[in-house]
């Protein structure tokens, strides 16, 4: 509720912001297929089942909901297809993902993810590989693979340098490179 009021104020606010940072009220965060189970979900199961009137308020009080993996049980195929259906003119933000050495490309809908961690987990799962920790200085130093993307200007950029919203609006295509080739893309000062 407080969140909604905040949005209304922002709508009338004049500000300079990075491209792509306009919040959409319709942006719902769903139970993403690739999210790991939060520790809470494991403890939840036994503790409160005895109480009588439990009105689903146990975890929604905090603004950040703990999403449970695979719940509600709707197949990701179905979730993805509906998520990308928006009433406005823009369609889902599908970008191609290629991986060096892989025979075929995949597609991901960037709108389905809340931020870089989710996207990276999804890519790890999709291509069955591991992408290491991101650091501003070292990029993905030490990882077998590093994610890169092609932006609007056609340049190959390292994933993670810019704010998520800016990335979403500028990313045209993703490419998972071998770690050895990705050296030099990190912004080592």
């Amino acid at each position: 509720m407080a969140h909604e009021n905040e949005l209304n104020l922002k709508a009338t606010e004049l500000r300079l912001g990075l491209p792509g940072t306009d919040e959409s009220e319709d942006m719902v965060s769903t139970a993403k297929n690739n999210k790991r189970a939060s520790p809470e979900s494991l403890e939840d199961s036994g503790s409160e089942a005895n109480s009588a009137a439990k009105s689903g308020d146990h975890e929604t009080s905090s603004a950040s909901k703990t999403q449970i993996v695979g719940w509600p049980p709707v197949r990701s195929y179905r979730k993805n297809n509906l998520q990308s259906k928006k009433a406005e003119s823009e369609t889902g933000m599908y970008v191609k993902v290629s991986m060096d050495g892989a025979p075929y490309l995949r597609k991901v809908d960037l709108k389905v993810y809340n931020g870089y961690p989710e996207l990276l987990v999804a890519l790890e799962n999709m291509f069955k590989l591991s992408i290491g920790e991101y650091s501003e200085r070292e990029g993905y130093e030490g990882s077998e693979y590093a994610p890169a993307y092609e932006d609007k200007d056609g340049d190959l950029m390292l994933v993670g340098d810019v704010p998520w919203d800016m990335f979403m609006s500028s990313c045209k295509r993703l490419r998972i490179m071998r770690g050895s080739e990705a050296k030099g893309l990190g912004c080592a000062v």
Partner: protein, 642 residues
Amino acid sequence: MSEDEELPDLGGGSTRSSNSTAVSGGGGDHNYVSPSPDQVLENVLENVLCFLTSRRDRNAASLVCKSWYRAEALTRSELFIGNCYSVSPRRVTNRFRLVKAIAIKGKPRFSDFSLLPPDWGAHFGPWLSAMSRSYRALEKLYLKRMSVTDDDLSFAAQSFPILKELVMVCCEGFGTGGLAIVASGCREIRVLELMDSDVGDDEADWISCFPDNVTCLESFVFDCVEAPINFEALERLVARSPSLKKLRLNCYISIGQLYRLMIRAPQLTHLGTGSFSPLEIVAQGEQELNYFSAFAACKSLICLSGFREIIPDYLSAIYPVCGNLTSLNLSYANINAEQLKPVICLCHKLQTFWVLDSVSDEGLQAVSAACKDLRELRVFPVQALEDAEGPVSEVGLLAISEGCRKLQSILYFCQRMTNAAVVAMSKNCLDLVVFRLCIMGRHRPDHITGEPMDEGFGAIVKNCKKLTRLAVSGLLTDRAFSYIGQYGKLLRTLSVAFAGNTDLGLKYLLEGCPKLQKLEIRDSPFGDSALFAGLHHYYNMRFLWMSSCKVTRQGCEEIARQLPGLVVEVITRDREENETSEYVDTLYMYRSLDGPRADAPRLMVRPSLMICGKHCTSTECRFSIARSLDFTLSVWVPCISR
């Protein structure tokens, strides 16, 4: 094939008198040696067995004696493998020699909801290797939740030259490149169906790979293929496929393109309409194609689906076929009650209806008023979230129960429900075989009385005497499970999530439901002692799945010790140093004739982790541990003395 020559002629032999006259001594051939009684029995048996088609009947026949076992094995032509790890491909091909159709199921259903690590298994490859040697005359291949590669598809196309039907449901691992090979290599293909499968986009023009001549295609389903296709090639394909009856298009086909296809194939009985929206917004006043007449020309249409990106204004085009429809799938169409009503009120013959909850309770009331013959209803959520606004509720369920008395199967997602509505359904819809209710908020009680949902589900198992499949949700105590154990005597499949209080819950199930085959439980407080309560029954089950419950490693080991024929797979997620859990994350166990599988997940390796194999010091257990990025997979099976 040399094996076939050993078999008596089953097909053409309508006169079986030759055998009987030989036995009774008739016939004038002096060199004739009368067959032994065993031989006669086998001949007679084989001729009789060909009339047995149900696999359960055949299983029973094969248990009578060795002779029947042999005869049955030689004559079974349709195979069903419910769990691809329950038996090795080699064992299957050794026993059954004349197989024309095979269905193989792989991953457990909860893998659909990302509860299994990627690359967990269910590879088609090993099956394909065995089948390519033994079943070259294979005609039908059905795969569900299997991992299939492009190479597999290529090898299959080569190995099975007369393959007529290929159906893949919830499969992954292949792409449009693989489909291209199937299209060009399987010359006899009549049925090619891809459903809910994850198909990679290799940018291959696979539609163009079908042979140029007239095809024998009868069913072509590719609505789940998320890649653009060559429309002109598709149009030509449809034009040269006079037998085509089922066509389900993907969302890259616009409504204009749909029109062109429909006028080429008015004989269609099943149609998936693709996006059902135009490529560009049609300008005001511009001539619109007469979609209405295209539908009117399809006089045989009984099943409609698709509507992937529907512009609701176009829905009126389907009016001409509504009166004949027995199946309508609007589960990708985000439409409201007002948009649904004019369509549904015409669908008086509808038996299967899938829809989104965007139509709200009001839409379901319209369904209830119009579709008196409804057998199956599925209501999916537009927003698959725990605490979203729920447009459907007990009101819709009650309306359906009152109007659709012949209902046999229901899947209903909602945010709120009452016991009263569920009880009403149990009394109104006595033919229910499948009842799956998903109250999306975990542990949510009856929203009017605040009570647990025990009584509602209890009434379902008590009153619906034909029930074989049940999925429960909402706030449930052990009492609900005592009802299920008491009344659910025909239950074969049960799904439980976030339910129950103590071990008693699971005990009630395992002790009370003798027909239970598939039990999947997540996030429920059932532990080792409940697990032990099922020892008498696990060999009769296809599988047991328990994730995020209170089962310990020791409990799993003990089960494996006591039941040597079970494979007990345990998956434990990696945890931080200070995070420990005495419970395993996932237990998946099933009976297997061939011990643990050799293809546990390929591991994702970070430099800091190692792959280690360990042998237990205990003489009773042999297990291997593999560590990966996220998961540790351990497989227990007692040492089988050889």
